[in-house]
Symmetry: D4
Subunit: 252 residues, 8 copies
């Protein structure tokens, strides 16, 4: 962090950076206060990943303010958990935004080049887990990873996952998404030496308790080599997988 | 109660009661009242299985009374959930009793011939689930089934269960015992056309919640062909498996 | 399984099966990947029951894709937990589909002949449990069982179930559906030697906790001869009952 | 209340009550402070029932202080939830005390005449529920009721309760004690026009959750004519039953 | 069923059946089967209270069928937990029905004379508990009780309940309705010798857990003389209060 | 009630009652009964704070009645938890009312002068917690406090709260509002000698359990100097903070 | 760390550092690392209260190390949640220590002068809540407050608390300790303008859920002017009460 | 199994099997069956980590059998969750074993050289979390990692963790262990680009719910870059950290 900063100061002194440019860089050190919202632009330096906006509890008005600020700074933005209705209102206003209904994600419509060589694989137990998996898939891509997917390979038909056995070790991280009894991550972890990030989903009913059953199942796995994020938290899995992949690629 | 029965038998002998009428009477003939405890000897007629005593909440004194009554009637007895201490006190008094510390079961020490051809298989996920599995194993034997076992075949090392794949269809019922994440029954059910009785165990810690995690996992299984009994209820699984096996063997 | 396959190969060699026909059979060994969804057509061979689709979390688009594939293969399909709205959209497109609003089930509109002699009886405690019971009833019929029903026979008026006492032993399996306090399965199990599959429903309010009260009640039954499926899981009960009935009928 | 007091004042004025006697009566109006403990002697006037001591959380020292005060006032005392060890220490000191190990109750060893004509019946589902039932039985007797009992009449063998059917209407209140699935109160309530006080017990294991399963079962009963007290609260059931019986007997 | 009854009546008329014998027959004579719904008309004889319909899980079609049957038999009907929409559809069809939006109750619009002298008082802690209280109030009136009410007397302003202190003993039963912390029933019970039926409501938010907080509070009351029904179960409280009041009035 | 008060006032005026005696009378003088609702106007004397109306469970009709009464008495009113729809209906009728959509609060549109010198600071962890924070902010202002705010200073970017470190000791009370993992209050409490009132919010999803996660986190804080109110209970925090601030300002 | 401090002191003495500058340095000067334990001696400056040791999870060895360090620094120490056995071992070694079995607290045996004029009152609902109350009482005294107590004044006999009504406003803070239904704090808060810190206790059984019932009750209080600490957390209540009292006394 | 392997080796040597073919065979070569326990020796090949034994539910007899087998194979062994008593019995028999009471771990007493360059840091919030942290520390060392520790750096005194800020990025993985409110992992994750494995502990009481509070806190963290294992599962964290570190070191 300090290197970057020192370099910028050097560039400033050498006249290679205008005062205005320099100001733009440091003015958000550590965060930008835009009135009741404080954007953590500095996270890019501190944690290697850009700021991400949790869309769920925010009003369209708050989001508009945030998007404006990002646009002004020519920064890309990732807004998660944003429903169709709000998304459409915003894509109507900001033509440069793109909405992914599977995954409930909104970003600027830009090509993102993978900056990391290590690959991440996203797996789901059932077809109904797709939404959460897409949140993970899109977020991981946004963070610069190469991401692949294998959906609907749950344990009720064990051959589906056994057929993937050979290649599981080729990835930096496996993100395994499952609802209902949440058994898939345990089986996957038992087959490989790649770390598994398990994502329980709220898919199911009754004693599923909104995903608690799958969550508990994953926390109690006896397979080892697996850790867990919140129910439906595809984004969180992607974040953690990215930090691991960055370390593996020598960038963490 | 006995007077009534004797009178009916007399009437039957004298031809004043048809056989059919007599059968109807004894079919719903109830229980033996031994003072604050009512033994359901009639269950043998009504449900095909002898009375079983839940030992856990009972005092040694209550159990002594019950065992005496069974001995007097030359009936075998199955007492479940009885700890070492109480068991030793009773085996000290009743020399004909035998205690099985794995399984926490007390019966008269008699040979039980299997009266049913169909076989039951008891599987466990881990070596720590043995106690519950033995409760199921011993109870099912007591009820006249042929019972086999395959322990410690959990999903963390999937080959262990895949190796049994071929023979799973040869049984009338599979009793699958698992603690922690409780994933084994789902995987087993997905491999076979034999009905699975899943038994969650309280083996585990933390978010296992005394077996609730395994229980929820099993209830939410997407495999199908599986139903669940209470946590640690090896006996209940054996009871249900016996009723099924009896039907299969044409005796239900 | 191998017998079937060997027979098919023999038929192929003898020219009684075209290469194309043969290909169609094996191409789904073990499952059919139709892009993010993997259909387990092989289950028919492995488990004796055809693939079933859990409709709840799926989009109309996903379901359309699945139905097309089944239609193409001339296979019947059972889609559970599908609401009126989605069902109407699909029955609008696929004229051969039929929707059962009680039971929330969608299948092709075909006569299903019962292929099993053993009978299954579906009972409910209250009239409000009908939806779940119909899911069980329709699924069990779809799987080839003879199915009968006795609804609204809960314990608040005990004569209703006592009146059925005589005939309970005549069935292979009893599916007992109950919400609120969920006491009916315990009482039924106590009256018969037929295995009971208990289905808790979410009917009730307050301390019912969305069916948890009934579920716990059933898991803690002291009657024996009873096992439990997830809350509102009529389909799961039918699946398990079918496996048992198939074994009883010598087809498991 | 006022009548009693006015009468006492009249008696005092008329010389039929000594000043000392009068003082003893009013000095505990409303409660007696004996240092960090405040005894509600006044409850007898206000609620018709004498003060009762919850023994569980109290030290032997606190109980000694309380018993002394009651003895000094020639009042009987009911101490509930007192274990064998503490009880023995106290009965060693106070020879006039008597301990009931079933029921875990300590009182002065006196004959209690039933002051109420209406009868209360205590029923249990299983023999293991006896301890809680005895707490109810002994407390109800202490409060002056005629109390009868019928233990071990649970629904697993329904004839046991059906045999009591005829007489259930003869009581003022039925106290129905049950653990595990807690179905008995529902069945009993459905058979009678006598109000049922349901007492869930912690008898059971696993998904019983220390009595929560039985409690929820009772709260969700669809039978009507039933209300519930805390798990294992035999005393509370007796208290409520007494108030009802007193009203029925015209003394409430 | 009707044939049997007609025959018995004929026998009675012909003197071949004594009145006593006849009474025994009809006393346990059960229910009316109207196709998947079994109406317990007999409850009036068995339990002293007419059949009541739980409206919540039933379709308009099911309710129509039920109302027709009651109308045909000139019996009044009480349908609880029926929402505005369904109620309006039915009152549109059946002009003789009346809907009470507070209380969500539907009955035939008839004068109900109180057949019992004893009085019941319904109290609420807050104005928001009114709906549940009205369910209790209207049901208790329907069952023939004299019912009074005192609403919004919660403990946050203790004077409101202390002002009622004097008259609390004048009732047969107190129904005390409270949400949030549910403290009112404890305070009321401590003030009186009248039995309290406590009704927790789901009024509140957050850690209220849909009424669980109030329910637990009531179950753990240290006041004594109080028993509890399900959350929001105003009807259940009225049912229990009626059975008690009937006993008090010598009609139970 | 009013007669009594008038008479007392007359006596006061005539000098037959000392001011002190008069104060004692009105100090415990209770509430206003407006038919099923009892307004605690007296709270202003007893507790130092005016009556507040919990809007959530009340109908528009009930609220209209209440507002009328307050208007008639020229008292300001604070109605909390009132949604947009109801609020608009009421502001349509009562032109003097003002609705605050953030905070869901309705009051008469009047200037409120802060009557207390001590200041309260409201902090939030995230921008999504704003609604609850505004409920606290507006209520605290209504009660006469000087209130400031610092929103979106959660621990994910710790500098945001560390930057406020210096000034935290300048307030009488800190109200710290946080959802999700609810860690902010612990960190804040560890930095200051000002008491913290922690407000968990229901912001989050999955294992957040509607705010339970944040609530438990706050209750288990090892920081000390912190106490907790119900989930989303911004009003409750303001009430408690006001009592503390009043004491600090010598007005409690 | 110490070198730095010594140097700063030297600079201060030499006048090269202003007193203000020096204060700023030590104000954020942190903790003492004694090997795997880091003592927060600085808290005295930062938060106004000395370091306190949570004894529960610590070994005697760890505690010995800590006590030695405090003794060496001539600082008093407060160790909470330390059981009799550990305490006796330590008081055996450190003659200057004193153990309070009620309250489970260990300190050096020194006179503590109250340094604050404002008073704190500790109340309990029942005599069984004494242990928790004593933890609060002793901790609050240790922190320099004047502390009084009123135990066993629960709502079952409302007069006990009404009798204290007059004096409740005389305190800075009320700490109200209650188990079972936890209703006392609500009633107390409704009577006074003094802030209430509510402490739920685990006193109770069954549906008490180890104090959860009382906790929920307190969190849902509709009285206002009350905030809550963890179950049995007498110390936490004392800490919060002290911060408030210090502010009131102008020392916060 | 061994026969098969020997034969394959023979074929390999004879050149009838290519090296590649041979590798494929042993790669999926499974486990060692020692009678009711099946040791997964093959895991070393499949997952890069040796077999580990969960000691908690196993009898001394089972453990003896396992240790014998490992000794025979000259393999080291890691037995977790083994209490003092069992450990002493075993170290008495097997002189080559060493027990670590902090961490409850038993291994052969051998030097383990770190085979991985990347470092893991174990942090705890409090001194009471040491046991769980040591389980992680010792396990991670056993698996060949370089492991360091920083204990007792919880958020109540934030400087303790801020002082470590600079070096957090130097590790491959951070294992952050915390009980009570479990806030430390969130704060740590917010400060670094190193992935955090969060371990909730059961340290705490009351609303801690045996560690559930800390677990929920961690699952709901808004910091990102963090995933969670079961309560007290230090071993599981070490396992996952090892897999990550191996990937980083190019050995996964």
């Amino acid at each position: 962090m300090e290197e970057i900063l020192k370099e910028k100061i050097k560039l400033l002194k050498e006249g290679k950076l205008s005062e205005e440019e320099f100001y733009k860089i440091i003015e958000h050190f550590p965060y930008k206060d835009i009135g009741d919202i404080k954007l953590d632009f500095h996270r890019k330096f501190r944690r290697g990943l850009p700021e991400v906006i949790y869309g769920s509890g925010k009003t369209t008005e708050q989001l508009r303010k945030i998007i404006n600020k990002f646009e002004e700074l020519s920064e890309n933005v990732l807004i998660t958990r944003i429903n169709q209705e709000k998304a459409e209102e915003l894509t109507g206003e900001f033509k440069s935004l793109k909405y992914y209904p599977k995954g409930n994600i909104l970003t600027f419509d830009r090509d993102i080049k993978s900056s990391l060589e290590g690959k991440i694989l996203v797996l789901t137990a059932g077809a109904s887990d797709e939404n959460v998996a897409e949140e993970a898939f899109l977020s991981a891509k946004y963070f610069g990873n190469i991401v692949e997917k294998e959906y609907d390979v749950g344990v009720a038909c064990i051959n589906r996952i056994l057929d993937l056995r050979e290649k599981l070790n080729d990835y930096s991280v496996l993100i395994v998404v499952a609802g209902m009894e949440g058994a898939l991550p345990s089986v996957v972890a038992g087959l490989t030496s790649t770390p598994v990030i398990a994502v329980p989903t709220s898919v199911g009913y009754g004693a599923n308790l909104g995903g608690i059953a799958a969550l508990l199942s994953m926390l109690n796995s006896c397979a080892g080599g697996m850790s867990v994020v919140n129910i439906d938290n595809g984004f969180g899995a992607a974040f953690q997988a990215t930090l691991i992949n960055r370390k593996i690629c020598g960038k963490g």
